[in-house]
């Protein structure tokens, strides 16, 4: 009898947990949609930003550019580091402990610290000024630990039997990693990249210090520009365009959902190819 009762209680607790989580999520989405949807108008997507139309199109484009540059820098670096850690480094190697400690420390640092570092190093020391490039580099440093960690996990999840099979056929290390291990780990690596994209899209503090807040479509990477999240932060902190800020939030929400959908689809395609 006691068992039955505690089981019932347990079920109730899990149910409450689930309902609360979904409830809060729905509440936030609903709140943003109700507040923002009525204010979505074509002028918000004008090519040029001015204080009248507070267009978010430049910010959307900046976001995309920022993300792409940051990924181009961070993904090869991070994946290669992970490959080294998993496939090449010997157990108990000092470099491995160092890299692991560094990534763990880096992933725990608040983003504002990255911002300050970016400001001091890229913006000031290297003299890049507030620029998309400085922002992208800062972002890439920020997401590097995430990509290394998730890639490492994905590579470790590749069964050793695949490696044995490949070695057993006389394939060398490089070929084994390139043709067998990496393709198998791709879905896992991708999901790490997508998490990283999410962090870039949602980042404000670090970007304000490095990419600045100019609302324009950057023609050169050395120009200052603001991403969608920064744009929204600017609008709401000015207090003059609260409605437009909500409308921007709607777009940001949709963008995030789209990224997620794309990522699942992408992972599904790669995974599908990999796992039948």
């Amino acid at each position: 009898m006691r068992n039955k009762r505690s089981e019932g209680a347990m079920a109730a607790i899990t149910w409450i947990g689930a309902i609360l989580t979904i409830g809060i999520l729905l509440y936030i989405i609903g709140f943003i949609l109700i507040k923002g949807l009525p204010h979505l108008k074509p002028s918000l997507f004008a090519l040029e930003y001015n204080s009248e139309n507070v267009s978010m199109l430049p910010a959307i484009i900046t976001t995309i550019i920022m993300t792409i540059i940051a990924l181009i820098i961070a993904v090869p670096l991070g994946v290669c580091a992970a490959i080294y850690l998993v496939e090449y480094a010997k157990r108990g190697n000092k470099a491995v402990t160092l890299i692991r400690m560094t990534t763990e420390t880096l992933s725990g640092i608040p983003s504002i610290v990255y911002g300050l570092f970016g400001l001091l190093f890229f913006v000031t020391y290297l003299g890049w000024g507030y620029s998309v490039l400085a922002g992208a580099f800062t972002m890439s440093i920020m997401i590097l630990p995430l990509i290394i960690r998730s890639s490492e996990e994905a590579l470790r999840a590749v069964p050793d039997s695949f490696r044995e099979g490949s070695f057993g056929l006389g394939a060398g290390k490089l070929r084994t990693v390139a043709k067998i291990v990496l393709p198998t780990a791709t879905p896992g690596i991708l999901s790490g990249i997508i998490l990283a994209v999410g962090r870039i899209v949602g980042e404000t503090a670090a970007l304000i210090y490095t990419a600045g807040t100019v609302a324009q479509i950057p023609v050169s990477p050395m120009q200052s520009a603001r991403t969608l999240a920064v744009h929204m932060y600017a609008l709401s902190s000015e207090g003059l365009h609260t409605n437009e800020a909500y409308a921007t939030a709607v777009v940001l929400l949709i963008v995030v959902i789209l990224i997620n959908l794309a990522s699942t689809k992408l992972a599904g395609r790669f995974g599908g190819k990999a796992q039948g």
Binding site: F162, E164, G168, G170, K179, I180, P183, A274, Q275
Partner: protein, 250 residues
């Protein structure tokens, strides 16, 4: 009688632990040689030294000599060439997560075969040798992971055959399979032994009696008895062999 492998005075250590003790064994060319013995007796370890898969294990030290058709495999031989000449099939079927075709073509591609026509031929031949062609010919370009366990294992045998090895090592190849799949693999091995020298590690003594020509019994890293399978199972010379094969071990 010529030998595919000649093993002389082989000792193997994992760190401080000696896993193989003074192994001396000549393995006949052609035919099937079975390695039997309780878990941890060193039979799998020995088979892994024959294509140097144990190189992958950290802290593994080897002394002694292993010759493949007279060539010292721990001497100047390129390990990738060795593994091409000495194919291996593992305990659990491990097809790569790619199509049936790409699985088979992986080995030949690794060793430089690029021509599409040639690859097609190798794929078909290998699958036919492994007696699985009829089952997969209509799904060559679908994932190999969709095959049944027994089919996957025969695919792995085909994959090993695709690089045209001289010796085939099998490490408990049927321990994860049902009796029917096991039977098919045994049949297959009996046809393959005409062309390849086969060494198989097995926990299934009936399997050893059914398919092997020679059997070696291992205990605690030593070869206790090695000889014709029929002799070993009908009239073992060593008391320990007798106790093990009659199930009165330990």
């Amino acid at each position: 009688m010529s030998y595919c492998f000649e093993i002389k005075g082989l000792d193997l250590f994992y760190g401080e632990f000696q896993a193989l003790k003074n192994i001396n064994m000549n393995i006949e060319e052609g035919g099937i040689t079975a390695y039997i013995g309780p878990s941890g007796c060193g039979k799998s370890t020995l088979i892994k030294t024959l294509n140097r898969m144990n190189d992958l294990i950290e802290g593994c030290k080897i002394t002694g000599e292993i010759k493949l058709f007279g060539e010292d495999i721990y001497g100047n031989m390129d390990v990738n060439v060795l593994r091409k000449r000495v194919g291996m099939v593992f305990q659990k079927p491990n097809p790569f997560p790619m199509s049936v075709y790409d699985n088979i073509a992986f080995g030949p591609r690794t060793h430089g075969t690029r021509s599409k026509a040639q690859l097609n031929q190798i794929v078909e031949e290998s699958l036919q040798k492994a007696a699985i062609w009829d089952e997969v010919k209509d799904r060559l370009h679908k994932s190999a992971l969709g095959l049944s366990g027994g089919q996957q294992q025969r695919l792995c045998i085909a994959r090993a055959l695709a690089v045209n090895p001289e010796v085939l090592l099998l490490d408990e190849p049927t321990s994860a399979l049902d009796p029917i799949s096991t039977g098919k693999i045994e049949e297959l091995l009996l046809t393959l032994k005409e062309k390849y020298s086969i060494i198989i590690v097995t926990h299934n003594m009936q399997q050893a009696t059914r398919i092997s020509d020679n059997t070696a019994f291992f205990l605690l890293g030593e070869v206790i008895e090695y000889g014709k399978t029929e002799d070993l199972f009908a009239m073992p010379k060593d008391k320990r062999t007798e106790d093990y094969i009659t199930g009165r071990f330990g």
